[in-house]
Symmetry: C2
């Protein structure tokens, strides 16, 4: 939630003069997106989002993110579409930063997701995984298993300030996940990798779109499923809601069947997804300036989630019946 | 620039169910307004602003602000119009805070105001002063001369941390302004009291609207003119731009003549306006938590402006010719 960079009206007018978007009527910095500065534009042609990519996003990755949105949108996924300027370019420079304009999606992200929302997420996640098959650009997942130890090393000496024993807990979990158990042969593809409730819009109970592809990358498709289990299927008190998980997994499986190997790996992948968000939140938590007005997200939420996944014996604990994915 | 309070979709839906605004399509927290949380709503009827009033705004003052916008809009001023719900109420409660919906004004606030913008401000300020004449509600200006000493007392002991000698400089200026020189018999009325560039929207060079009436109050009309001289007529290097001031004052005078007494008082009122913003910025500056992500505005900008006004011999130094207001 941040606008890091303001944009002068004349600079923006210069930038927009390369586009066929009509007359600019207004632009407002919006409190969405942690990594970038986002503005909601009203023009005589409609509403658009202008994003300025701040330094935490690699410039070399931007063509991947923009290309992916264009690809998915052209394959029936409701996601923002990059708008090309009259030179055919979707990426420009504004206020000294890489900048892009994408179409605006109406919709509301669910602050209190219910099982219907979770089913919508399962369906769109599977459809994205299928639609991504034809996308030819590649981007490695910098936050997969090999990326966790460096985050831990940054945070280890101070982790116990957040919770007594946290450093030893993380160290043991990393030792386990790095010890050869992490799957290597599951189906790969393009994953969203950050499909949290604030990146999914609904109109009523109907999913109207998916946004924010700045963590998208190539990885195991089932890892994206595991991320969503963490992001969508726990209650505010961090208890696991098996009804939501069943709705999510069943809807996913109706579009794309999870193989037996993927189902078997799900508890492990969910542990990995939990420690990935735990570690990035922990690093952010320890590095926030004292008294900052923007509070980082609580890493301890993911300690609770990780402990839950450690206790899971099989994919059935995520709410699946013995008959398989469709309950 | 802040969204202090998030709003859950179901709470917002409940709130909106009392309004005839059509279906809610999206809402985004926007980075405008320092005192309140503001959301841009898209509904099937158009765009609206939802404001949650945070604790720095007195609840008892809200009917004044909302009533004033309704009054001014009905008298030809382009400003947001409060939207009444089906009970006829413009003020409700959302997320535990007083909340109101106002119409959305298209337009862009000028990051680099030019003389044409300043002329637009002069014209609309005078028109607001004339239109305010029939408004019957009253609100005292808590930040006029009697309000400055308490702010100084809060900041005095640490003012020299910001600039060596600042405390003595402020003390001397306050002694002067409180010593019987502050005007008592100039024309009074409703003033905006915070008409800075970010509260004025333009489409091209044409002023499209004035927003944010949360400092509006009753005071000398010429004091509002003095505030705008401070807010619009200095360059980024804090030098005074006499061309902009002439454009502003001439445009004002074409709509509402400034009396000789008002003209004579203008340098003094400008000193008062400068110290008013200097003091509130100084208090905010000294009270910001270390490392906060939202930087308060620099109080020293107003030290430079105050010194300029101290050097002004007469209203002619603001760019007026000997022939009077219209140069």
């Amino acid at each position: 939630m941040a606008v890091y960079t303001d944009v002068a009206a004349d600079e923006l007018a210069d930038f927009l003069s390369w586009y066929d978007l009509g007359a600019l009527l207004s632009y407002k910095g919006i409190a969405e997106g942690v990594e970038n500065s986002n503005f909601l534009l009203h023009t005589s042609n409609g509403s658009f989002i202008l994003t300025l990519y701040e330094k935490r996003v690699e410039r070399d990755d931007l063509p991947f993110f923009l290309g992916l949105m264009t690809h998915l949108a052209s394959h029936g996924i409701n996601c923002p579409q990059p708008v090309a300027n009259r030179r055919g370019q979707a990426l420009g420079v504004l206020a000294g930063r890489p900048a892009a304009i994408i179409t605006f999606l109406e919709g509301i992200w669910p602050r209190k997701p219910n099982a219907v929302h979770c089913a919508g997420i399962g369906e769109v996640l599977a459809k994205m995984h299928l639609a991504g098959a034809g996308f030819t650009m590649r981007r490695a997942n910098a936050l997969s298993v090999s990326g966790w130890r460096p985050l831990f090393d940054v945070a280890a000496s101070r982790a116990d300030e957040v919770q007594h024993g946290l450093s030893a807990f993380l160290s043991a979990e990393l030792d386990y996940l790095e010890g050869g158990v992490w799957p290597r042969h599951l189906p790969q593809g393009v994953i969203h990798a950050d499909l949290f409730p604030d990146n999914a819009f609904f109109l009523g109970d109907r999913l109207s779109g998916v946004i924010d592809f700045t963590f998208a990358c190539d990885d195991m498709l089932a890892y994206d499923v595991a991320i969503c289990l963490n992001a969508w299927c726990f209650e505010p008190d961090h208890s696991f809601n098996v009804t939501k998980a069943r709705a999510f997994l069943s809807a996913y499986a109706r579009e794309r069947r999870l193989s037996d190997a993927e189902q078997d790996a799900l508890p492990l992948l969910a542990r990995g997804a939990a420690i990935r968000f735990l570690l990035t939140r922990l690093v952010d938590w320890l590095n926030v300036p004292p008294g900052a007005l923007v509070r980082p997200k609580d890493p301890l939420e993911y300690v609770r989630k990780l402990r839950f996944h450690q206790s899971v014996a099989s994919v059935r604990d995520y709410g699946l019946s013995d008959q398989g994915l469709v309950a």
